[in-house]
């Protein structure tokens, strides 16, 4: 095929590649820079000061790092970050433990049944997310349907003993209700990538494993799980990242024990009206989530490099 004269072909290609970059620039990088800028600005009652000013022929930089120093010195913020990471991690783990068998079953069941199961997984998305979280409030409150069931089997005593609820019968606004709500909400985000990964797997590999002496259980751990690693990573990211910054679910289902970073952000913005502080909290949160992911993907890339 003959390329069009000059660099016209390059322009066409750049345009195609440029679209996602432009998208990221406009909707991710620019807002992030705005947030970062505010985080180092002064709050002047209703407006935010500029960080670079021009006055009497002199450029003045007014960059304030006090907010970040406060983040480091006030252990309230530190504790909130840790608790956000903790609840996000627990939720991710639960989603993985529940979602993997579910996705596995879905991928291995008859082809004719698979679309129906997929539908069931996605069905909750058709109802408002807020409505579903509110529904949990009704289910977990005293004499709620689920609350009664949990108390009937004595599961609440177990939860109380584990310190997840303050005492038997008190299910709402506890770490338990928070994790339950987040696991429920984010489970489909774990199941879908796992399902698409597991459904693609070449089942002859399992026959080969069996032929070479592996029982079904061994074959699962030595073949299926390692091969579904990409799905596990995708699902974990999709659940963990939004969970860290989750605001609505902790607000509705969480309690005084379960302060998460989203709530702190909201308080700084709307209760304290301290936008620079709120922005510092947000920037710190982004770094907190992005840095481990960047390190991980770099490690991944190196591992792939070494293999080739």
């Amino acid at each position: 095929m003959k390329r069009p004269a000059g660099l016209a072909w390059l322009r066409g290609r750049s345009a195609v590649i440029g679209v996602p970059y432009a998208w990221l620039l406009v909707f991710f990088l620019l807002p992030f820079l705005v947030v970062a800028k505010i985080s180092v600005s002064e709050m002047e009652t209703t407006t935010i000061s500029d960080i670079v000013t021009w006055k009497d022929g002199a450029i003045a930089f007014n960059v304030k790092f006090g907010n970040y120093l406060l983040l480091l010195s006030d252990d309230l913020y530190f504790k909130t970050y840790v608790s956000s990471l903790k609840y996000a991690a627990v939720t991710t783990l639960l989603c993985l433990v529940i979602g993997y068998p579910f996705a596995y079953f879905m991928a291995r069941t008859r082809r004719t049944v698979q679309p129906a199961l997929l539908m069931l997984v996605m069905l909750p998305f058709w109802t408002s997310f807020l409505l579903r979280v509110y529904a949990w409030k009704a289910l977990l409150t005293e004499h709620g349907l689920i609350a009664d069931a949990i108390e009937a089997v004595g599961f609440d005593r177990l939860l109380a003993a584990a310190g997840l609820i303050p005492g038997p019968g008190q299910l709402m606004n506890t770490p338990f209700s928070l994790v339950l709500g987040m696991t429920y909400t984010y489970l489909p985000f774990m199941i879908l990538p796992l399902y698409s990964n597991l459904a693609k797997m070449d089942l002859r590999l399992l026959e080969a494993a069996s032929d070479l002496g592996a029982t079904a259980w061994t074959a699962f751990w030595t073949v299926t799980v390692p091969l579904s690693r990409a799905g596990i990573i995708a699902g974990t990211m999709l659940v963990f990242i939004p969970c860290v910054g989750e605001y609505v679910i902790p607000e509705l289902l969480g309690g005084p024990q379960t302060q998460m970073i989203g709530r702190t952000l909201w308080d700084e913005f709307f209760s304290n009206n301290d936008w620079p502080m709120a922005c510092s909290v947000a920037v710190a949160m982004i770094l907190l989530v992005i840095v481990p992911i960047a390190v991980f993907s770099r490690y991944q890339a190196e591992a792939t490099e070494r293999a080739t």
Binding site: R204, L205, G213
Partner: protein, 370 residues
């Protein structure tokens, strides 16, 4: 059938929804034998192999390996290993780990595994490739890893599912002989499945031609080729001219079959009766072709009008080492004749629309009654 055969398959049946895929197959396979199941797709050969491996449960019948009935044994407990058609190499494991997979399942000590893997890599001539991943290897190398993996556990029985099916033609020819040598050197008893007759003939000591779940003929490659027992086998293996006719002379030493334009004088007796309808099979390479009629009594050709026919070259296909002529006979029949091009630019080369004589020896045709 002897009772002490190494692998005994008895009345094996596999039905899928009432439809027999394998229909009452019995065979004895001796230790060290390379046995090929040959047939077109859907003939049941793969189902039979999968029953041996334990992936399919027979509807009825039994498989006994070295005196041990395999009924009910799951694949992972069977003392046999399979080389899969698509190789089924584990993509997340290196070549060495692929080969070691089965040994690890047996709990072999790590040091021993290392030695065995090394030996296997050497056997298939992949010495420097231990650390590679399967996707970094060529098709031929992957095939050899698959072979090494299936031999690593020193199985009593090696199962090969279309071992060369995924390779291109040139590579297949080279690999065929290499594979045959390795299997022979290791001395493992082997059952292979193939739809490729060349593959079966070069590798196997015995071939079973399968159709519709049954064995049509079992024998050494030459036996199957030279003396097929039925029209199907004659037609399936190699090229053949099949001619319908009836027995017009039936003596102890010879028979004559009249097929209209071709009258065959066949130099051996048959079990049949005068007037019986039969099919005569004649391989293209067993027919001589030339411009002149064959001299009476020359070579082994019987006197006129037997085993000779005149026709016009309707088509010819030049294959390099040999040429295939399609000779149009007066009655409208087309006779396929192949002639090896042993001389370069032979002056007698026939071309389109040339008149030519075809002739064949008394022992060349095979009389088929089914």
């Amino acid at each position: 059938m002897s009772a002490e055969a190494f692998l005994q398959i008895r009345h094996l049946v596999k039905e899928f929804e009432g439809h027999p895929a394998v229909d009452n197959v019995s065979i004895d396979i001796a230790k060290g034998e390379v046995f090929a199941l040959l047939g077109s797709s859907g003939c049941g050969k793969t189902t039979l192999l999968r029953m041996l491996a334990g992936f399919e449960t027979p509807t009825s019948g039994s498989v006994v390996l070295d005196g041990r009935n395999l009924a009910g044994l799951p694949p992972y407990e069977r003392p046999m290993n399979m080389m899969f058609q698509s190789y089924a190499l584990f993509p997340h494991l290196t070549v060495a780990d692929n080969i070691a997979f089965g040994l690890r399942r047996d709990g072999m000590p790590a040091a021993e595994i290392g030695v065995r893997v090394e030996a296997m890599l050497k056997l298939v001539q992949l010495g420097g490739y231990a650390k590679r991943k399967p996707h970094q290897l060529s098709g031929g190398q992957q095939q050899r890893v698959a072979l090494a993996r299936s031999l690593a556990k020193k199985p009593q029985l090696l199962l090969l599912d279309e071992p060369l099916g995924a390779l291109d033609r040139k590579l297949r020819e080279e690999t065929q002989i290499e594979l045959a040598n390795i299997v022979h050197d290791v001395g493992v008893t082997c059952v292979m499945v193939t739809h490729d007759q060349e593959e079966a003939m070069t590798m196997a000591s015995r071939i079973a031609v399968m159709s519709a779940g049954r064995f049509l003929q079992v024998g050494a490659p030459a036996e199957i080729y030279e003396t097929p027992s039925s029209r199907f086998v004659a037609d399936f293996i190699g090229n053949v001219n099949l001619m319908e006719g009836s027995v017009v002379e039936d003596e102890a030493g010879h028979v004559v079959v009249d097929c209209g334009d071709c009258k065959h004088w066949i130099g051996h007796g048959i079990t049949g009766t005068l007037g019986m309808k039969v099919t005569v099979a004649l391989r293209p390479e067993k027919i001589r072709i030339g411009r002149e009629p064959p001299a009476d009594g020359s070579g082994a050709a019987p006197p006129a009008p037997f085993n000779r026919v005149r026709g016009k070259v309707k088509d010819l296909a030049y294959f390099g080492s040999f040429t295939v002529y399609h000779l149009l006979l007066a009655g409208g029949r087309v006779l396929k004749v192949s002639q090896s091009n042993s001389e370069r630019g032979g002056g007698t080369a026939l071309t389109w629309n040339d008149e030519a004589w075809a002739s064949w020896a008394p022992l060349s045709p095979v009389v088929l009654t089914q």
